[in-house]
Structure formats: C-alpha cells, structure tokens
C-alpha cells in the first residue's frame, strides 16, 4: 500500500522541491533548496515538523549520512565552507546576478544551476545548516557572567541534494504517529 510502513521504509527519504513560481499556491519552499531533509540527532524536531505538516500521520526515518570534505557544505562546523558560500553570494550579488536580499534557498538553487553551466562552481551533494530561531535558556552555558555563551541544543538541518547508497545507509523507521 502506498504510504504504508514498507513503502516508506523502501522509498524514504522523499524529496522537498523548490519552486520559483510564486503564482502557484503551495507549501513554502524548503530552507536549503530542493533536496532530501533530515534533522541531526533530533527526534523532537522531526516530530514537531511531522505534527505541523502531516495531518494524516507520518513516519520518522533514521539513516546514517556519510560525508566527504569536497562534497559536504558544512555551514555549522566548517568556517572555510561558510566563508566560501559568502564569497560566492557576494560575487553573484555584485555582478547583479542575484538580488541582494536573497534567501539561502534561492542562492543554493542558483548555484546548482550555475554548476550545470560551469562545472565546479558548486560541487556539493550535502548541506548542513543551523536554524538559530529557537534558543532556550536551559541549553545556554555562559563563558562568564552574561559575557557570551555556547549553546548545547542547536537545531541542525541536513539537506542531501542527491542521495545514493554511499551517502545514505542503514535506513530504519524509528517512530510513527497515530494514523
């Protein structure tokens, strides 16, 4: 049966697609452009998302994501990668090829298409980013009294642009909502 346990286990993850057509009423565009999305070690976020988006029930799927330096755009833990993306964005904006107020998803979609035209611009297959929206006090640890802090419960999003058996393995369903 479509959408049943075995179907989901066999076919997951499912793609979230980006659209530039603002005239078509649809769900909001995915944060990091078209791809297959995971939260990093965060069942709570997955359930929160599922409850908000899938009224008819959903499954939570876990998998191992294998990264490599040259194809992993890590916007969480790699300052060189962050600087690289900023440079790409700045040069495109200065050339007038993207708007100055672009969203990150727009930028990534643009870079993917530019890579078709000029291979090498965007060699990445996996992107990781942090959503800084919800920072709760109990997970903040201050360096000194009210003088900067580190945060121990970040929300990390993985977007896999093109999954294969090397990048994604050991899939299993770890929870399901009430149907």
């Amino acid at each position: 049966m479509d959408n049943g346990y075995n179907y989901v286990l066999h076919n997951a993850p499912f793609i979230s697609s980006w659209s530039n057509d603002e005239d078509i009423p649809k769900r909001p565009n995915p944060y990091l452009g078209t791809g297959y999305y995971f939260w990093e070690f965060d069942v709570q976020q997955a359930k929160k998302w599922g409850n908000a988006r899938y009224k008819n029930g959903y499954y939570g799927v876990e998998a191992v994501i294998q990264t490599s330096d040259s194809t992993f755009l890590d916007l969480v833990g790699d300052k060189q990668n962050m600087g690289h993306l900023l440079l790409l964005a700045t040069r495109l904006a200065n050339a007038g090829l993207i708007n100055k107020d672009f969203k990150i998803g727009e930028l990534l979609e643009y870079l993917k298409k530019a890579d078709v035209v000029q291979p090498g611009i965007f060699p990445y297959k996996i992107i990781r980013a942090q959503d800084y929206r919800n920072i709760n006090r109990s997970s903040k640890l201050y360096f000194r009294a009210l003088e900067g802090f580190t945060y121990l419960n970040p929300v990390h999003i993985f977007c896999i642009i093109q999954p294969d058996d090397v990048i994604l393995s050991n899939k299993r369903i770890i929870f399901q909502s009430l149907f």
Binding site: N20, S70, Q80, H84, L87, L88, R91, L92, A95, L97, E109, Y110, K113, A114, D115, V116, V117, Q118, P119, G120, I121, F122, P123
Partner: protein
C-alpha cells in the same frame, strides 16, 4: 588546486560569460526542468555554426558562446538538453 579555489575560479568564468550579453545573439530560454522531449542537440547543430548563441535559464542564469563553439560548449549543450529549450530572438 582545492575545490574551493576551483569553485571561485569557475564562478568568475560564469560571471564573465553572463556579462557578455549581446542582443544580436540567439537566446534560448529554459522553461521546464523536467524536459524529456526530442533532442535539442540537432537544433543547435544547425544554428551554432552560423551564429553566436546564448542560453537563458528561467530564473536569469545566462551563458553564451561563439559561432564556432569549442568542445566545452557542446558539453554545455548536452547539459542544457536536459531542459526544455525554446529559442527566441531579441
């Protein structure tokens, strides 16, 4: 050369090509990313040797070539043939 340096150089080439807009060139607009129709390569084979050309993706990405395209241009055409292309003249 590491992949970041390579990426930045490729981007500079891309921007350079994108800035070479020429209204006398043939423009090709990419309309549908899911194009699986007849090969566009035949069309290009007929026009590429007589004129310069330019592609424009629906969201503004552009690239262009000369009347005698180098081999790399054919690679671009092969890549572009995955998309729906519609020629139009300015």
């Amino acid at each position: 050369m590491n992949y970041i340096t390579k990426s930045l150089l490729a981007l500079d080439n891309f921007i350079l090509n994108a800035s070479q807009a020429d209204k006398d060139r043939i423009w090709i607009e990419v309309k549908d990313m899911n194009f699986e129709g007849p090969s566009i390569t035949e069309y290009f084979n007929s026009v590429l040797y007589t004129t310069s050309y330019k592609f424009r993706f629906q969201d503004g990405i552009e690239f262009c070539g000369e009347s005698k395209p180098p081999e790399s241009s054919f690679n671009l055409i092969n890549a572009a043939s995955k998309f729906s292309l519609e020629p139009f003249f300015l």
